[in-house]
Amino acid sequence: MAKILIVDDDPDLVESIERLLKSKKHEVIAAYDGDAGLEKVRSEKPDAIILDVMMPGKDGYAVCKELKSDPDCSSIPVLLLTAVVSHIPTTAYSMRDGMEIEAEDYIDKPVEPDELVNRVEELLA
């Protein structure tokens, strides 16, 4: 069992991922924008972060960059949630962007439940 923070501006999406992770007995906390997310990371010290890229205000890339440059948080693994604009082949691009900003992993929305659970387990391992 681990403590996982979800940061996404869409409350329905947060709720559905929360439900999924709770079914795997994880403790889940949520934040609905970038700044609140950063605050939660610092106050709650989660074991992993699921971070939406496209958010109004401070987006996921900016949040991730800030986390990775903060020695207190840089070791917490980050899974980026991407919903890239273009057609199918965007995985390579989202990966490139994701890796550039040092996130541990990325996954395209909508997220297939088993896939998400696997990725989270890998992050925690």
């Binding site: 329905d12 604009v85 273009s86 057609h87 199918i88 909508p110 997220v111 297939e112």
Partner: protein, 373 residues
């Protein structure tokens, strides 16, 4: 406004300059083509008055060079002897107008003034075109976020229902939800295609051209379609040679091309069918053929399959979810790569779609090559 007069005859240069300066235009002069091109290269001239008959580089050469390298500069040619042939050839090569020697001050003023009007219109058109692109882009961004976000959210919740995370569901309910899910992913795919179509139409695209390895591109495309193929027990074989020549391409665009083609070959196929992708070298081109042994396309439908939103509706295709945008997207991407596409099909037997792309001029770059292995 700044006008450059290029003529080897001093009297013409000075005469023209005198007339133009009186009208309040700024001028410069050059006595041969080489000097003229050097002055044009400084970027300070918007209009060029160009003598066709000069020693050294001919006026026609200067004209071609300017049209190619400085498309914003308007060229008016001065024909020494008033032969219509010279003027016609110059116009064919992109001159805006011509004036015959000897000319009166009035003739020169009129021609120049009209050329400047044309230039203003040209700039205005370009500005409008840019604005249109920007609006289209804004719309695309709006669609991408405002439409796709809720769709993603709906799909995410549906996953949970199907997974039984909100309590057990009956097999009937499961079936219905799966249908909903199918339609939703069809919708998501359609939005993606729509966005891509506008992307390739509005962006001065292909800015990300790089040498790519075709085998690898096709492999990426095949993997995207693998789930659908497995469901219908269809075998996809990537037989593209690892040694196939590299092409200069927008990587993302090209994967999109083959993902669409392979996806069609799977969707319009029967259970247990096969899809073969193979490559062939043809002079300066590489050909990639996506061949299936599926239901085929009737001859009278063939010419319309690249039309936007065109879909073939028969008993065999009714259950296939699609947007009718895939092939129109494929075509515009291929066109952007100076390539071609051809379709051969026998109803009931199968379809071959062949994409032809120019080989990269450079040798296969190390990067594309190492990605391949």
């Amino acid at each position: 406004m700044c006008i450059l007069v290029v003529d080897d005859e001093k009297i013409i240069r000075e005469g023209a300059e005198c007339i133009l300066v009186k009208e309040g235009w700024q001028t410069g002069t050059a006595e041969n083509g080489r000097e003229g091109l050097n002055l044009i290269a400084t970027g300070s001239y918007q209009l060029l008055l160009l003598d066709l008959m000069m020693p050294g580089i001919s006026g026609m050469e200067v004209l071609k060079n300017v049209r190619q390298s400085y498309p914003d500069v308007i060229v008016i040619v001065i024909t020494g002897y008033a032969t219509i042939e010279n003027a016609v050839e110059a116009m064919k090569n992109g001159a805006y107008d011509f004036i015959a020697k000897p000319f009166t001050p009035d003739q020169l003023r009129i021609v120049v003034r009209r050329a400047f009007e044309k230039r203003d219109l040209m700039l205005e058109t370009e500005a409008l075109r840019r604005e249109r692109r920007q609006r289209m882009q804004d719309f695309v961004n709006l669609v991408s976020h405002e439409l796709r976000s809720p769709l993603n959210s709906i799909q995410q919740q549906l996953f949970n229902l199907l997974k039984g995370l909100a309590g057990e569901i009956t097999s009937d309910q499961h079936m219905i939800l799966e249908r909903v899910q199918g339609r939703l992913s069809g919708l998501t795919g359609m939005i993606k295609n729509l966005l891509d179509v506008s992307r390739f139409e509005t962006e001065p695209f292909l800015q990300n051209k790089e040498p790519v390895c075709l085998k690898e591109i096709v492999q990426e495309a095949v993997e995207i379609c693998q789930d659908d193929a497995r469901e219908k027990n269809i075998t996809i074989m990537n037989k593209v040679s690892a040694k196939a020549a590299a092409v200069e391409a927008d990587r993302q665009g090209l994967v999109s091309v083959f993902a669409n083609l392979v996806s069609n070959a799977v969707k319009y196929n029967r259970a247990g069918g096969t899809v073969h992708v193979r490559s062939r070298s043809r002079g300066a081109h590489v050909e990639i053929t996506v061949a299936d042994n599926g239901i085929g396309i009737a001859p009278d439908h063939l010419e319309r399959i690249f039309d936007r939103f065109f879909r073939i509706r028969t008993d065999e295709t009714r259950h296939v979810i699609g947007s009718g945008l895939g092939l129109s997207l494929v075509k515009s991407i291929i066109k952007g790569h100076n390539g071609g596409i051809a379709v051969e099909s026998v109803p009931g037997t199968g379809t071959d779609v062949t994409v032809r792309l120019p080989k990269s001029i450079q040798q296969l770059s190390l990067r594309a090559y190492s990605n391949c292995h």
